[in-house]
């Protein structure tokens, strides 16, 4: 946007150049001005701060590092434990000397007799993938009207969606339990997937609506003038441009559904249908607690969302920034 006052045009419209010869040596002539603005140099203050941290800044770093270490230590412990025999873990995972590296824990966890991790992981995929994909599709289809159309009760409906987000899952568990029983969907993946979809839709619609509001309306008007129908605009303009936001939704919803413990606990009864987070507490072993096996199971469970996040991190960040931006 320009702020040009039509009555007082600036720039070339304002009339002839009044710069005299003396000034001309100081200013670039118009044809010498580069297309892009030069990068702004950092001022000396910033540079100084960057090279020599002040004591306050150093303290900030110290606290940040301390928090990071506290955060990562349990994970390192788990990781170490998963690769060592039980005897070494009991002596403390932090004793590094004489360490034995073994994959035995992973083999055991994978084929554990009461609840094999291999089957549990497969089950979790069966639940998570549809729960994520359907939420993405439904979410963007619901978010688009909220972002673009005017329809009766729009604000009320949107408020209701937000309200669902405010409720804790425990609150609705009883109602959902009864409902699934009545529909005959209790203890089925279909039932669990539906619960996850319904539960995820609230934040997904809010998130995607905010993102879609950032797509200039003129793009859609341009497409309309070019002859695109509402559906064609949605498919050829809105969907491709929403990719970063959809990836963010996928990553977050995937992590949420994958790690969900409460919903499977309430709605899944048959052991052969158990999901990975449900299986972990069962791995206590017969004679003693098999810490190494639990650790290996936990690592396998958490590896999936972590790998997904690492693969999609670039898009995920773009989507998050754009959706929260305005």
């Amino acid at each position: 946007m320009t702020d040009d006052d039509p009555l007082n045009p600036t720039g070339i419209d304002a009339g002839a150049d009044t710069v005299n010869d003396h000034d001309r040596t100081r200013y670039l002539r118009t044809e010498e001005i580069p297309e892009t603005a030069p990068e702004a140099d950092l001022d000396w203050q910033t540079r100084l701060n960057e090279t020599i941290p002040t004591s306050k800044r150093a303290l900030t770093y110290l606290v940040a590092i301390a928090v990071a270490v506290l955060w990562i230590v349990p994970f390192i412990g788990l990781f170490m434990a998963s690769f060592r025999p039980l005897s070494e873990i009991i002596g403390g995972w932090w004793h590094v000397e004489g360490m034995t590296f073994t994959l035995e824990n992973y083999y055991q966890a994978w084929d554990y007799s009461t609840a094999p991790m291999g089957r549990a992981l497969r089950n979790t995929f069966i639940v998570t993938i549809p729960a994520v994909l359907i939420v993405m599709l439904l979410g963007v289809m619901a978010a688009y009207p909220f972002a673009r159309f005017e329809f009766p009760l729009k604000t009320t409906l949107f408020f209701l969606i937000l309200l669902v987000m405010a409720a804790p899952p425990e609150l609705v568990a009883m109602g959902n339990y009864n409902a699934l029983h009545e529909f005959g969907l209790f203890d089925t993946y279909m039932g669990l997937i539906l619960i996850h979809i319904g539960w995820g839709l609230g934040w997904v619609v809010l998130f995607l609506r905010n993102y879609l509001l950032g797509i200039p309306e003129e793009l859609e008007e341009a497409a309309r003038i070019d002859g695109a129908s509402r559906y064609q605009i949605f498919r050829t303009i809105i969907l491709p441009l929403s990719t970063p936001a959809l990836v963010s939704v996928a990553v977050i919803q995937f992590t949420w559904v994958w790690n969900a413990f409460f919903f499977p606990l309430v709605f899944m009864r048959s052991p052969e249908l158990y999901l990975a987070p449900q299986v972990l507490p069962l791995m206590t072993g017969r004679v003693q607690v098999e810490w190494g096996m639990i650790a290996a199971g936990s690592i396998m469970t958490m590896a999936v969302p972590v790998i997904l996040f690492l693969l999609l991190e670039r898009y995920y960040k773009r989507g998050m920034v754009a959706a929260v931006a305005d």
Partner: protein, 395 residues
Amino acid sequence: MARIQLEHITKRYEDVTAVDDVSMEIEDGEFVTFVGPSGCGKSTTMETVAGLTKPTEGKVYIGDREVTNLAPKDRGVAMVFQNIALFPHMDVFENISFGLRLRKYDDEEVRRRVEQAADIVQLEGMLDRMPDEMSGGQRQRVAIARAIVRNPDVFLMDEPLANLDAKLRVHMRTELQRLHRELGTTIIYVTHDQAEAMTMSNRIAVLNEGKLQQLAPPLECYNEPANLFVAGFIGSPSMNFVEGELTATGFESENVDVAFEPELVPSVERGDTLTLGVRPEDVHLVETADDVTEQTDELYATADVLEPMGDEVFVYLLLSEDADRSMEQEPATAPNQLLMSVTPDTDIHEGKEVAVVLDRSKIHLFETATGNALRHRLTERSDSDSGPTATEADS
């Protein structure tokens, strides 16, 4: 190609009337510019032609068809937007061919037409670039190519140059004129920049507060503005306005008196308030006014501020010594100030006392109450309000 007709177009939003009873006819192949300040309804009027907005009342015709209720795609219009509105996830070829591909043209036809359109806007060899790899001017060209590739009857351009820098804007202005000449398509162009309006169009439609003020060729808007708004809006710097009274001897005000027969303005009575308008270039120093055949009486003033522009110098004149300089007001409308433009070699400096005259053939009289123009020249040669000689004299 098609002529466009707007019949009593009114667009009301909940509590604002964006467009208020606008009617106009635009001839086939004409380049018409809608100009006016922000919020004057120019974009909304265009959107009713595009089909992006449905008018509350009134009818829109393109060619011989009434299109008021048709979808944009069925109107044969193409539009270029202010923020360019290229699809960021498509390359130049896909952007230009978007509309053609939707209409399921075969690949060869699409390629042929895209290349032809790219050729017209000089985008050869850039068809596989992404919009974010291009400069502002190139992107604007893609937007124009996207519009012309469909061979529309009507081009709609909504401030297409507003986001470009000043140098590029002037360049694209000539490009658009060339394009209009080559294609001969009817063009409606929306801008708030009166310089764009003056330079490019066959006719200008000046809008203010949703109402059409004047629809006329640029020079006619300049020389014979229909009312005070047009007079003040067209032309930079703005016209001088002096408020005064109609007396038996002509126009009288605190500082400026101009004698004429009151019969020249038959529609107003003596004692009514008039506004006299005169452009800065029609105020002359007495010593350089030899070629002005019809002069007013001399006015005495002090040069207050000089604005050298290179090819001319704007001089802010104070008409009365004692009057305070009302800095809050626009200089041109302050009652005791007059803006004059002189050539740079004129002997004048700040504080110099000068005598000036006005060119009687360039004086405009407006009825203050309504703002309507009463007369555009005070010479006796022509009796009509809008003699063609006035237009020629200034061109």
